[in-house]
Amino acid sequence: MPEALLELSGVHTHIGKYHILHGVDLAVPASGMTALLGRNGAGKTTTLRTVMGLWKASGGRVRFDGRDIGALATADIARAGIAYVPETMDVFAGLTVRENLLLGARESRMDPARLDWLVGLFPALEKFWNFPAGKLSGGQKQMVAIARAIVLPRRLLLVDEPTKGLAPAIVQNLLAAFRELKSAGTTILLVEQNLAFVRTLADHVAVMDDGRVVHEGSMRDLAADAALQSRLLGLALEAHS
């Protein structure tokens, strides 16, 4: 397995009085996509938010590119090269698509070549450039959220359930976009319930249950082992193809 870009060791997270993560150990290899799977409530979203510093780990260590980032503020984690696309997309509804991307760029203007590349990935961006993001459809918002996250080149992209509630045609667009991102060298940690989507994209897989990682390995091995799928996920990938 390639060297880990992101490494979580014994990470615990409490939200209020609730103990959500119970010692998460996870290694996300540099380059390629790692899928984080598991039932609802297993702790996948909490893991992403803990990496991003939006919820602080109450124990354990989070290392990114060899550097301990557990104590850093969210803004500093983002500046270290990690981008986050939350499950709720969280586009700024009152801002235009252009303004959403401008915020992601952290500069007064965006790199034109990067912008051309993004528009190639998501042609709808150009069409809705001066349109308030809140008026877009769910799929268009998802594209804006992903584009905003990668308008600056990032080492690691955390994406939480990007296909949730989207029409199949939009999911195909996202599939193509993630393939392009992977080939551009971006490391992706993807939380997803759409197993068919994950199966075509992911190189590595980690399965969570009850706030812990209970399985790590290659996507190919998991896809080939129906018994393992059934034991870990309670279903078979074939059924979702």
Partner: protein, 326 residues
Amino acid sequence: MRTPAADLAPAIVVLAVAAAVLPFVSFPAWVTLTAAGLAMGMMIFIMASGLTLVFGLMDVLNFGHGALVSVGAYAAMLVLAPVAAWTGADSLVLNLSAIALAALAAMLVTGAAGLVFERTIVRPVYGQHLRQILVTLGGAIVIEQLLDVVFGPDAIPVAMPEALRGSLVAGEIAVEKYRLFAVALGLAVFAAMFLVLDRTRLGLLIRAGVENGPMVEALGYRIRRLFIGVFVAGSALAGLGGMLWGMYREMLTPSMGGEVLVTVFIVIIIGGLGSVGGCFIGALLTALVANYAGFLAPKLALASNIVVMVAVLLWRPAGLYPVARR
């Protein structure tokens, strides 16, 4: 694709309210009432605009904002007193220079007071609304009592600059000069805020932060600094509003800011919490209705703010221009 048209309905309502009153009063009285309502609305807007941004961005219910209005009025008075010769001179330039100095002092003092208030009183209670109400109310009481101790409990008269005294008269129509000045200053503040919020990178960050602060942080911005900056700017605007309000009343009392705070809260609620445009329209609507009601049905005037709030919230429960929130 065409961008969606701007929502002009709330502004049209304000115009409709003004037009609806015209058949019931003479034209000169209507002009006087409307000018007075607009002036009052602009003063309330200046006082409320900072508060709505602070609430929108920081989710802080600052009941100490009224006390900062009073501080601004007293700070302005301290500057106006030594330059009484300027305010009393028959020169518009000298008069406006005195006002500019007083406004600068009011904004600097209340901005600094806001910084101290945020660091010492508000910061420990971020995210805790009940505690925010209690501690900011406590802070307001302390500030009012300090004003009381330093300046005394009695009302202090403030001289309005000579050029702003009296009225402009055209036929039977008379409009007080100070009201026109307040309208002009209010429009200037609104235009400046609009330009900053709509045309600058800082404004973009503020608008995004009002919608979803954590996401702004996740994009790599240290939003705490922005919080403090907006709190200081909001406090400075309270001070500017206090100066205007004090000169309008021509007297200062420690409780003058607290007395206007209920109206300020009504305005930011009906405008849509966090919305500067909503605050502007809400302030005009509230003040115009109060003025018209005071003339046409004085017994209803006391309840007019509440009636406006109920009507607006029945029409638009999240306010005239609701801010999209997470």
